[in-house]
Amino acid sequence: MVQYSASLDLSFAALSDATRRGIIDHLARADASITSLAQKFQMTLTGMKKHIAVLERAGLVISEKVGRVRTCKLGPSGLEAEAKWIEAHRRLFDARFDALDELILEMKQEEEDGSASE
């Protein structure tokens, strides 16, 4: 079977759960405390802490305790999502526009050939 690296396994396993994908999606919009996440996803504090622990191990989320409140935000892997999307989009358009450049060269050549024969 296909071999995966352990760290890749960790993030994929972390995101194989619909609630955890929901948490990532939520944190992509705004940081949130564990308490508010628990309310949002209608689960116990303990349940939410477990989900956050899985996401933290995968580097997708980081949390920080200030006073009595533990605030969660996207970790390095999560933050990269938008940058990756932009880069994928840039590559697609770059490939398209390189092809368009080639077509334009041909069109110019045809135009020149056309005016030369007139």
């Binding site: 995101l15 990532i24 938008e82 069109m107």
Partner: protein
């Protein structure tokens, strides 16, 4: 410094992509041809299909391309991807020859409105491809739905991982 900046601007024909606001995505590039020629490559199906889905984009091919590029006209593109067919369609809201093309993306519920403008710049064309989504959430969704790979790709991986166990 100035010289460098100038030559950079002239030589600039690379593709730039920017998330301009919560709801907007903008792609720009300069083409070495007048707007009339670049516009033709965008508005004639025979020409358009030769570059919109280049071979270097692995695994996706353009199967058919119907476009009636005038205000009120419609388009439909069909792509083949690993045995599946995907259709993209919509209508042209505004077409001004050699200046701009505006179209809707009607295949999804919260599709963007795309505006392409062609501006003359010293015999060249500054092309701007602009997508305006109906909401911040719609653009976020488009982003997390694709390269961020959250839903779709992870579902596939989930499947592979569960098969492995």
């Amino acid at each position: 410094m100035d010289q460098q900046a100038n030559s950079g601007a002239v030589a600039h024909n690379r593709t730039a992509v920017e998330r301009k606001s919560e709801r907007e995505l903008v792609v720009t590039r300069i083409f070495d041809a007048p707007p009339s020629m670049v516009f033709r490559a965008w508005s004639e199906a025979e020409l358009f299909r030769r570059w919109w889905m280049p071979r270097s984009v692995a695994g996706v091919s353009l199967l058919s391309c119907d476009m009636d590029v005038r205000t009120g006209g419609k388009y439909r593109l069909e792509f083949g991807m690993g045995g599946d067919t995907m259709a993209f369609y919509g209508k042209y809201l505004d077409v001004v020859p050699n200046e701009r093309i505006v179209w809707t993306n009607d295949e999804g519920e919260e599709g963007a409105v795309t505006t392409v403008t062609f501006e003359a710049r010293d015999g060249k064309t500054l092309l701007t491809f602009h997508e305006l989504y109906p909401s911040k959430e719609a653009l976020d969704e488009a982003m997390t739905g694709s390269a961020a790979g959250l839903p779709e790709q992870l579902d596939q991986l989930e499947e592979m991982l569960s098969n492995r166990e």
